[in-house]
Amino acid sequence: MKLEIKDLRVSYGGIRALKGVNLTVDEGSIVTLIGANGAGKSTTLRAISGLLKPDAGQITYNGESIAGFPAKEIVKRGVVMVPEGRRVFPDMTVRENLLIGAYLRSDRAGIDQDLKYVMELFPRLSERTWQLAGTLSGGEQQMLAVGRALMAKPKLLMMDEPSLGLAPLVVKDIFSIIRRVNQDGITVLLIEQNANASLRVADYGYVLETGSIVLEGQGRALLENHSIQEAYLGHRKSAIPASGKASSEETSGKHGRKYEVSMNSD
């Protein structure tokens, strides 16, 4: 149950958004993909989940090539996305939203059970089953979006910036849910701008920059990598701890880019 992406290229009407992305998500792990605005993170997820047709490259899941499959076939195989910006169905109830998640399933008992599971994960949703999703708070909507995807019984759950625009406490909730879901056996591919939090929870991380992976490594190691700290964690160069050196062995720059500690401090 491994997801492997090789040399994935995607373009929007001639404009290249992904210029050959390689990444691997091992079964049972949490993998994060971080990068600045416009780096191509969402594009990667959209291509995996079948919303976009890649120009070239391979996407294999569980040994099967799924590149170019319609979204439905990919959801059926257990690869499910929580889209960027929540995207709940506003004029439908919480319950209806969740049931749409289970649209391709026909095992009533299993659906009932997963409904229970989601309600237990998100007690706030269980109090609001008949409320219209559009009237939920931002945090509740994000929980609903995650819950809806869980209703599809994913083996690999892909989340596109679940913490976007949420208060710190709610972000904490979301991240503990990610851990919990992972402990329950679901592999997670997490896209985040919040590099700090996502690298902390992730087993492995990739850094995407203008359509290419420029860095990858163990979550902890990336967290301590200097260039990451500068670019995504808001640390100043002078504040880099000495421990950064050890970890730089575990991280590896790609595509000829050099990520080294620069000496000039400002």
Partner: protein, 367 residues
Amino acid sequence: MAKTAVQPINESRPGKVVSVTLTTILLAALALLLWWMQSAISDVYILKITRLCAINITLALAMNLINGFTGIFSLGHAGFMAVGAYTTALLTIPAKSKEMMFMIAPLIKPLDTLTLPFPVALAAGGLLSALFAYLIGMPCLRLRGDYLAIATLGFSEIIRVLIMNAQRLTNGAMGLRSIPANATMAWTYGVALITIAFMALLTSSSYGRALKAIREDEIAAESMGVSLFSHKMMSFMISAFFAGVGGGLLAAYNGTIGQDMFRVSMTYNILMIVVMGGMGSISGSVISAFVVTIGQEWLRFLDGPLTIGSIHTDGVVGLRMVVFAALLLIIIVFFRNGLFGTNEATWSGLWRSIGRMSGHKKRGEAA
């Protein structure tokens, strides 16, 4: 441990039995009323309008499925109605009448002598209409928003022009006459009831839920595994089927049809019912069909000579439609969601509002 209240999928909502019983009683009462009207009311005009209401229910629900529930702004309704109307007419007019009617060129082969029972002809009209929807949907349903609306409107006009020119099939500009008057109270209300039941079942099924999901957010729907095109196509074809059946009823109701009946204004008429009742509300469309149909008849006086204060007109033909267009505008501007929005009239809702009203009264009495 947080205690969680979970409703299983097929739980019966509170008072389901009560509401089914009440609905059955209501329907029985309605049937009795219609039956009584037919014998007690001798005014043919009132009976005709009553039947027209039922036909409009079918037509409005057909349109509501695609425009309201699926969120696809299609303006091709009149074309589908035309297909249904001509099919039903051609399959029910007696051979003798057809022979007399087709003066310029005779009707093509099997149709000239073929006559089928009314329900079969209606169904054939619906099916042919759905087939047209399939062909039109292939290019149109890949478009979005305004483009889709314009494209479907264009195809509807194309159907009309084809009808005008297919002399040997449709009798061209002369239209069809002597269509047997099969649109009885039983047929019009029977079909309306079937349509209501079908739409209610469809929209509360998981398939219907997927259609609503497409309306709300296509990307989210697709990422949950709802394939957009096939669902849109199915909704479009079902909508066209019922529009075709409604058109067939209209042909039998009118007795004569011509291509000019099925101009864009026909689509707007039905659209008005749907918008007024609430896009995505079945009960809204049903109630609105009565209000608009009766209202349109009642406003007929506007087309005749009028005296308002000192102003006197000898009758401006079309004033009624001007007033109606203005009403539609007002509804769209001020009551964007129509009577019901996407909600349904339910017994529990009625019960609650009665409760609220009596609550007010009590407080009023206390004061």
